[in-house]
């Protein structure tokens, strides 16, 4: 039986991995994947805390997060798609029309 600490360690690892991916990747889709990892790290935390304390609110929160993340990604991919149609790229370095 893994302990609460094990779950939190995995969660922290996922979070750092996702953050690293989101900051270092040069294409928008890969950045999105990194952010998804971060969201799931939070979900894992919420569910683990809920399971180990016997309170249910964390699990409900995680359900909300899953639904909201889907909505968020839908909008994000729509933005990406419309941008791809006009610019034919998803590389962050090429998306540079706006600057001072």
């Amino acid at each position: 039986m893994p302990s609460l600490g094990d779950f939190l360690a995995v969660g922290a690892g996922l979070f750092v991995l996702g953050l690293f991916g989101a900051l270092m990747k040069r294409t928008a889709v890969a950045v999105l994947m990194g952010i998804e990892l971060m969201l799931n790290a939070a979900n894992l935390n919420l569910v683990a805390f809920a399971a180990f304390s016997g309170r249910i609110s964390g699990q409900i929160f995680a359900l909300f997060v899953i639904a909201l993340a889907a909505a968020e990604v839908a909008v994000g991919l729509a933005i990406l798609l419309s941008l791809f149609r006009s610019r034919a790229t998803v590389r962050m370095d090429d998306i540079d029309l706006l600057k001072g």
């Binding site: 999105l32 971060m38 969201l39 939070a42 805390f49 994000g76 610019r87 706006l98």
Partner: protein, 472 residues
């Protein structure tokens, strides 16, 4: 009782859905009615909220998930007022771009609904859900001018940074939940002492700071404000910013009064950095909308002084400042929205001689900029005075001095615009489109309020102080 107290929010949600539905059936030439329907819904919600504020409503709903206290109602009124002004300006703007279908209005109403629920939440789950409603609608709004790749780029940059910040916020919330076993704001703080609690608090504060566009979470703001539709930039820089500030203030003041020392220092640094970076970077901008974006980062810095000082006087001053800032900033972005077309038209040189071509617009823009700069007889000056005075009183004299110094720096770029407006030689160019009635009304109201609150600031300040009374 619960449902009756939330009537303004319900009106808003109902209007948003009605607009979406009607959009399916209305022929294209009648789409303007959708804008008017949205305006009616917003006005009704604004009226209802203002009445609740006047009546001093203080209601805890659904076991404390929502708290409709004067503090929340004050910010709801600000958000709704800003949205109404933005909507008025959007009508002719969208028509000119050929994007005047119902989606825009529905998205705007949803964003406003999110902001409204956010400021009244006392539970992290509800805060998160409401903030996501505001965010997701805002991302779509920023990318609304689909034929324009600048709009898509603005949306993508806001989206990626926004989602990153909200993931960090969520991780922070999950840690706080683990430490305290609760999502209720009144319980969380007391049980989240220790270094892990501080880490969690910083993550949470970062999520809100992105919406306020405070340094170091400001990177999206210049690009997004420049590329998004001008009315959307007006909305993001005012309503969205005010709502995020309200939640941040509530989280810090009600949940974490015990950790006050550390976060006060943190926000002193953030406020100082925002004022410095915003004002200095604005100096070098040739695009007026981008300049206003940096100016709005700096304005966010002035408001954050309140969280560094954290006295009731300071927080009341920030309420006052945000209320008047809504009028002047929405106004400034609105004037630009009249001038710009698909080919640009927002460079400094494009404003040359505007006073001869469109005297009313030039005068309105001048009033807004003078107020943002903080000259006498404008609401902006009163707001800055209250904030700086509260900072001195609260033992942060250096922050007030810092603010004064960078206010003087800001004169350079605000007055450079005025020089172009009134003393630039106008090259011959096609006449700008005539302003429509709703846009004229919105602009007139914003101008009037900016001057009026500058000459008679007392009633608004009293209201801000009163709204604060029951925060703790």
């Amino acid at each position: 009782m619960n449902l009756a107290a939330l009537l303004p929010a319900e009106i808003l949600a109902g209007t948003a859905l009605a607009v979406l539905l009607a959009d399916l059936f209305l022929p294209h030439r009648d789409k303007a009615y959708l804008g008017l329907l949205s305006a009616a819904g917003l006005a009704a919600a604004l009226g209802g909220t203002a009445r609740q504020l006047a009546a001093g409503l203080h209601a805890s709903l659904w076991g404390g998930i929502f708290l409709l206290d004067p503090f929340a109602l004050f910010f709801q009124t600000i958000v709704l007022g800003a949205a109404l002004l933005v909507l008025g300006v959007s009508l002719p703007y969208l028509e000119r771009w050929g994007r005047d279908d119902g989606e825009f209005y529905a998205l705007l109403l949803m964003a406003v609904l999110g902001a409204m629920m956010m400021v009244a939440s006392r539970n992290f789950l509800e805060i998160y859900v409401a903030m996501e409603l505001l965010s997701v609608s805002s991302y779509a709004l920023a990318g609304f001018l689909r034929p324009d790749p600048r709009s898509g780029e603005a949306a993508l940059k806001y989206y990626l940074q926004g989602v990153l910040a909200s993931a960090a916020l969520l991780y922070g919330i999950s840690l706080l939940y683990g430490l305290s076993g609760s999502l209720d704001l009144s319980v969380v703080g007391a049980r989240s002492a220790g270094s892990l609690g501080v880490v969690a608090l910083v993550l949470v504060a970062g999520g809100f700071a992105l919406k306020i566009a405070a340094v170091p979470f400001h990177m999206w703001a210049p690009d997004t404000y420049q590329g998004a539709p001008a009315p959307v930039a007006a909305f993001l820089s005012t309503a969205s910013k005010a709502a995020a500030f309200a939640v941040l203030a509530r989280v810090l003041l009600t949940a974490f009064p015990a950790a006050q020392g550390p976060w006060q220092e943190l926000f002193a640094v953030v406020a100082a950095a925002s004022m410095a970076l915003g004002n200095l970077a604005a100096l070098g901008q040739r695009n007026v909308r981008r300049m206003l974006a940096y100016s709005s980062i700096a304005q966010g810095g002035y408001v954050l002084i309140a969280l560094a000082v954290a006295t009731p006087t300071a927080v009341a001053a920030s309420l006052f400042y945000l209320a008047v800032y809504v009028f002047m900033n929405v106004g400034a972005f609105s004037v630009l929205s009249f001038l710009a077309g698909p080919t640009g038209g927002e460079e400094l040189a494009d404003l040359d001689g505007l006073a001869e071509r469109r005297p009313a617009l030039a005068l309105a823009l001048a009033v807004f900029l003078i107020s943002l700069a903080g000259m006498p007889l404008t609401a902006g000056l009163m707001g800055k005075l209250y904030l700086f005075y509260a900072a001195v009183q609260g033992g942060y004299a250096w922050l007030a001095l810092w603010g004064v110094v960078f206010t003087v720096v800001s004169y350079f770029y605000y007055f450079r615009v005025l020089r172009h407006l009134f003393w630039g030689t106008a090259p011959p160019r096609p006449a700008a489109p005539a302003a429509s009635v709703p846009a004229g009304l919105a602009l007139g109201a914003a101008t009037l309020a900016t001057v009026l609150f500058g000459v008679f600031p007392q009633p608004l300040l009293q209201l801000a102080l009163h709204s604060l009374g029951m925060l703790r």
